[in-house]
Structure formats: C-alpha cells, structure tokens
C-alpha cells in the first residue's frame, strides 16, 4: 500500500516471517488499486503472478467471475487444513466477499464504511446533539443544517465518494435493492435500478438543497474535505477511514461522529452500511504446498492481536469479533470517542440480501457513469429523474459489456 500504510503492511509480513520458518511473505507495492489490478492480470497472463493480490471492492465481480484463476479463501483454508472459523468474522465486513451461500471468496483486509462527521461546535451552538450509535433522521439533519446556515455557516452538508455514500450505502441502509438478483450475488446478469422511488426521493432533495448551498457538492472522491475542515459545511459524510485525516486537519472546531442518517418512513429499522476498501484474493497456478503458507498467513493476519493493532493504527474496521472485543477491552473506544461508530453501524443487524454488498461487473466504470450523471443533476442540467434514468441505462449497458467477456 502507499504512504504510511506501506510500513504497517511490511511490519505484519515481517512479523509473520519471524514467527515461523517454513514460509516467507513478501509484500510488493504495485501502485494504486487500478494499477495493481492491471499488473495482477498481466502477471497472471504471463504466468508470473503472486499468490495473493489486494483488489479493491469494486473489482469483486471481476474476481468472483474468474473461477479458473481465483482460489476461493474458504476452499484454500479447507484444503490446507487450517482451522477456519467463518462465524468469528464480522458478517457485515465479510459479506461483500462471500457468495450467496456465505462462503468467503477473499479475505477482507482494509475495510471502511461511511459515517457522518459533524461540527460539534455548530451543534452545541444550537443546543442539539447527535448520538454516536443511533442513526439520526435526514429530517433532523436538514433542520440542524438550515439553522446552522442561519447561524452563519455557509453550507449544511457535503459528501465524499457520492456513489458509495449516497446511493450504494443509502440502498443498503434502507434495505432497498440497488440492483437485481440480490445486488448481483445471485447472478452476474444483474440490472441496476437507480431511478426507483426512494432513491429519487433522496437525490431530488439533495438537488433542491444544492440550490441554497444546504448541500454543496465538492468533488468525486474526498475533494470535499476542505469544506468541512474550513468550517464551511457543518456535516460531512465520508469513509470511517478518513478519521485520522479529519482529526489532523480540523483545527478550528471540535468534531464528532454519528452513524449515517436515514428516512424513518422508508425503513423503520435502518440496516447495516456496506464496506469500501480492499480484500486479499488468492490466485491459482502455484505449487500446492505453497498454498499452505498462504493459509497460515491468513490465520496470522486475522489473529485478534494483529487485527486489533491494524484497526487501531489505521482506522480500518476489524475483521473479526475477537479483534473488536480486544479493542474494547483495551479501552480504545473510550479514549477515542467516535471510533466505534462505524462498527456499531455495521453490526446493528444481520445483513439482509440488500446490505451484504455489491457484486456488479465493470463497477469502476459504472461509478464514473453515476458520478457524471449526479454531477449533471447537481449542476441543474438534468432533473433527478432524468439523471438517474440515464445512469441506470448506461450502467446496465456496462454490465452487458462485462457479461460479454466473462465466460
């Protein structure tokens, strides 16, 4: 991985290497997720591929469809005779990477989920507060944001990774079908359904808010962050893994974290949010004996101590329940308020077929399409209905393209 995370990954690998004599794990940085994917595929075609490759969550469909290239984790662990306890894993985290029978295909490594960061000073001024474990309603957020604007704040809310936070997670939390066939888990010929009533409801409202800066679009990824850091916007929805960036950059006020808002009339009991990030996939084509090393490494990686340390140092979610318990025991959450909001949000219910995650082909390009259409909606050149219709049509075409070359 890049930057600071690189050292942490190296550390895990070297600790594993030191803990036993049989196998050596060598982490290699190949660039960002897209570059890694390209390098991995090319390497496989040239028969020079690694055992393990870290793939972003949007590449899940590609990996799952590559049945001849991929060695599913649950099979690997079984074949290697490693003790493997799927039930110890946080279902909401592993759900993304399991098939419809809940078999794990890849090992989640760095996962995060969106949360709501907010300007605590602004809310204190109004005399309101938000729970760090109960989702607020969107109407409550709207009210607070409007009052904040009256109090002199420029904008109400801004978001990052809008497809992920405002559409994909929105559908999951409200138990809506993002795409057919259980979001693709039951079949790759899934069809997206973005211009459905409840999604239109939310996007339409955001479009109205954009006119008065109640919502202020800031960019496709985390480009909107400065708006929150500058105390321009009072609310900021983005990944839980942004926690350390937020902490480092917010100097003028106190911030806090709450779960994602929801609409009580659409879904009375909000479901879990879905993850973003990457997981570790295993590629076939190596000597059978070497896979035992991979299995052992996975056992090491998911041990409570390693997971707890990884979670606390990076802000990514812990993959196993014991790791979460250990972190709780160590008092980490008490010392760092708001860091458990993400986990609580993910474990509040058992995932439904709509909140396990997504398995849609060509999803990288589909996210681009969704971004383009949403941008047209925010700019006012399309209505919410037109934009979402076009997004649905174009996305489904991309799924067709994907199906064409997955056989």
């Amino acid at each position: 991985m890049g930057g600071v995370l690189n050292e942490k990954v190296d550390r895990i690998a070297s600790e594993f290497n030191e803990s036993q004599q049989e196998f050596i794990v060598k982490p290699v940085y190949k660039g960002n997720y897209t570059e890694t994917m390209t390098a991995g595929v090319a390497a496989f075609r040239a028969k020079k591929h690694p055992h393990i490759i870290q793939v972003f969550e949007v590449g899940t469909a590609t990996m799952m469809a590559a049945t001849r290239a991929v060695y599913p984790v649950y099979q690997l662990m079984n074949d290697a005779g490693e003790k493997f306890y799927p039930q110890k894993f946080l279902q909401a985290v592993t759900g993304y990477y399991t098939d419809s029978d809940n078999n794990m295909y890849s090992m989640p490594f760095n996962s995060s989920t969106p949360v709501l960061y907010y300007n605590k000073d602004a809310l204190d001024k109004q005399g309101v507060s938000l729970s760090s474990s109960e989702s607020p309603s969107w109407y409550e957020i709207e009210k607070i944001a409007k009052k904040a604007q009256e109090d002199g704040y420029e904008c109400g809310i801004t978001v990052g990774w809008q497809s992920w936070t405002q559409l994909e997670n929105y559908a999951a939390v409200h138990n809506l079908e993002f795409s057919s066939l259980s979001n693709g888990f039951d079949g790759l010929d899934t069809k997206l359904d973005l211009d459905q009533e409840h999604i239109l409801h939310h996007v339409g409202r955001l479009r109205e808010w954009q006119k008065t800066n109640l919502f202020s679009y800031g960019g496709r990824r985390s480009d909107a962050a400065p708006k929150f850091y500058n105390a321009e916007c009072v609310f900021y929805i983005n990944s839980s893994a942004s926690y350390s960036s937020v902490e480092a950059n917010v100097k003028k006020f106190k911030f806090s974290v709450a779960p994602l808002p929801y609409y009580p009339e659409i879904e009375a009991k909000p479901k879990n949010s879905i993850i973003g990030g990457a997981s570790l996939w295993v590629l076939r084509g190596h000597a059978p004996a070497s896979y035992r090393g991979v299995a052992r490494f996975f056992t090491f990686l998911t041990s409570p101590e390693i997971q707890a340390r990884w979670h606390q140092e990076t802000g990514y979610l812990p993959v196993t329940i014991p790791a979460y318990e250990l972190t709780k025991e160590q008092g980490f959450y008490l010392k760092n308020p708001g860091t458990d909001t993400a986990i609580l949000q993910m474990t509040r219910v058992t995932p439904t077929k709509n909140s396990k995650g997504l398995r849609i082909g060509n999803f990288v390009q589909i996210r681009d399409v969704i971004n383009e259409e949403l941008e047209a909606i925010w700019a006012g050149s399309k209505t919410a209905s037109e934009g979402l219709k076009d997004a649905t049509r174009r996305s489904n075409k991309l799924v067709d393209k994907f199906l064409r070359r997955n056989f």
């Binding site: 930057g3 660039g31 570059e35 090319a42 040239a46």
Partner: protein, 282 residues
C-alpha cells in the same frame, strides 16, 4: 526587410516579446511556485515572484520525494530518466547508422524487405499497440528494468531514414576513392562516413535525447516499482494522489527539474539542432 517602416518594426518586436512572454510564462510560474512554502500557494492570488524556499524545496524533493505519492526521491528519478534518455539516444543512433549504411551501401537479398519492415515502425507508435507490447515485455520478464525501458524504443525508423537520406547524398567519388585505397566497408564506415555525418548525429542527439527523456506512456506502463520511475512519468502520480491535497510547491520543483535537462540540451546545442531539425525533416 524591404523598406523601413518604424511602426511595423516596433509592432514586430512587440509581438515577438509578447510571444516570448506567453511561451515562457508557464515555466516562470512553475519556477516561482517551486520556491515558496506550501502555505503561500493555498491563498489567492499566488505570488508571481520567487520566494525564499528554493534550496529547501529542491533538497526536499531530491531527497525524500513526495510521500503522498509513495514514490522514490526525485534524485533517483532523475537518474533513471538520464539512463533511459542516454541509452535510447546512443542506441538509436548506433543501430540506425548501421541499418541505414547497410541499406544504402550494400546489395543483398531482403534489402527492400528490410527497408519496408523498418518503414512500418513509423505506422506503429506505442499508442496503437499498448496492450500487446506490454504483454510481450511482461513475457520477456523486462518489466521494471532499464532494458525494458529503453530497448523497445530504440528501433523506430526516423533516425534510420534521416541517415539514409544523408548517405544517399555522399558523392560517388568518395566511395570509389576509398575502394581504390583498399578500404573495406567497415573502415569506410568508421573512418569516413561517420565523421561526415557529424552534424546529423549532433542534431539527432538533441532530438533523440529529448525524445527519450520525455517518454511518458511507455515508462508509465512498464514500471510499477518506484526505484525505476522516471521523472516525467511520475508527475501525474504526484498531482493525482488520492487522499492528500497536491503539494504544489514540491510538484512544481519536480516539474522544473524534469524540464531543465532537455531545455539545457536544446539551448546549448541550438544552432546545430535547428539546422538539423529543419534540414533533415524536409
């Protein structure tokens, strides 16, 4: 100039001066931005005169690189770019001289075929064969290597064609004289032909050095380890790094370092370069 029209003269100078301003402005701004601390570049308007941090920024970028891009230090990148540019330049000149010599001065079967095969490379820039060339290089295990960076770029036809055109203008008398003197083809090549080609070689040196140094797509494709990154290809990664805000003062320092060597080469060898460029392309 036929008659003396002072206002037109003034206008000419004015336009030229404006032209130079427009052309040099981006480079000036880059230089200015590279000498300021990051805070100075976050408020509008950014300064248009140099600041105090020249040594600081450049040593930071040469030493540790830009951390958010997870890359090597710019010093390493400069080294890689230099190796790549020089290897391509010398490689291309050498094999083009040899190939042009053979095609012009020898009669052998497959001569025309060789000519056309070489000609075809003009129709096959990297951009039209990206994916399969990458696959070939990967299969030959040349990814992340100096060989992989330079070898595939050495064979394009422009230099060969230039030398060929020049060789065809060598007076027959010279060759006859050499033959009478008992000079074999190798001697002729080394002792007579190459020295005669001096100016062409010099002009090509400039053109090819710039071509090699400024390679972007190819290094981008085949290097993923930061120890092989070249400076021109790395610029994009620094600007587009996902999470952090771009550190413009360091990016601009890198950009200045990236354009300095080729600019120096062009300016220093300006006369021979201009002559060679215009004469040989026409």
């Amino acid at each position: 100039m036929v008659e003396n029209r002072p206002w037109l003269n003034f206008f000419s100078h004015f336009v030229l001066f404006l032209g130079v301003l427009i052309v040099a402005f981006p480079i000036w701004i880059a230089f200015v931005a590279s000498t300021h601390p990051p805070e100075a570049l976050f408020t509008n308007p950014i300064p248009i005169w140099p600041g105090p941090d020249l040594v600081k920024n450049y040593s930071e970028v040469l030493g540790s690189g830009i951390s958010s891009a997870g890359g090597a230090s710019v010093a390493v990148m400069l080294k890689n770019s230099l190796i790549m540019a020089l290897a391509i330049t010398f490689g291309k000149i050498v094999i083009s001289l040899m190939a042009a010599y053979a095609i012009v001065f020898f009669d052998f079967p497959f001569r025309m075929l060789s000519f056309w095969v070489i000609f075809m490379t003009l129709m096959l820039p990297v951009e039209v064969r990206i994916v399969p060339t990458y696959a070939v290089v990967a299969r030959l295990d040349l990814l992340n290597s100096y060989t992989g960076l330079t070898l595939p770029l050495i064979a394009s036809a422009t230099a060969t064609f230039l030398f060929r055109q020049f060789f065809m203008t060598i007076p027959k008398e010279l060759i006859e004289a050499a033959k009478i003197d008992g000079a074999g083809p190798v001697k002729f090549f080394v002792d007579i032909l190459i020295p005669l080609s001096r100016t062409n070689i010099a002009a090509l040196f400039v053109i090819l050095f710039i071509y090699g140094w400024n390679q972007y797509l190819w290094p981008l494709l085949i290097t993923s380890e930061s120890s092989y990154a070249t400076i021109v290809m790395s610029i994009q990664r620094m600007v587009m790094s996902a999470e952090a805000d771009p550190q413009w003062h360091l990016i601009m320092a890198t950009a200045v370092l990236a354009l300095l060597p080729p600019v120096i080469v062009v300016v220093a060898m300006q006369k021979v370069f201009v002559k060679g460029l215009v004469e040989t392309e026409k």
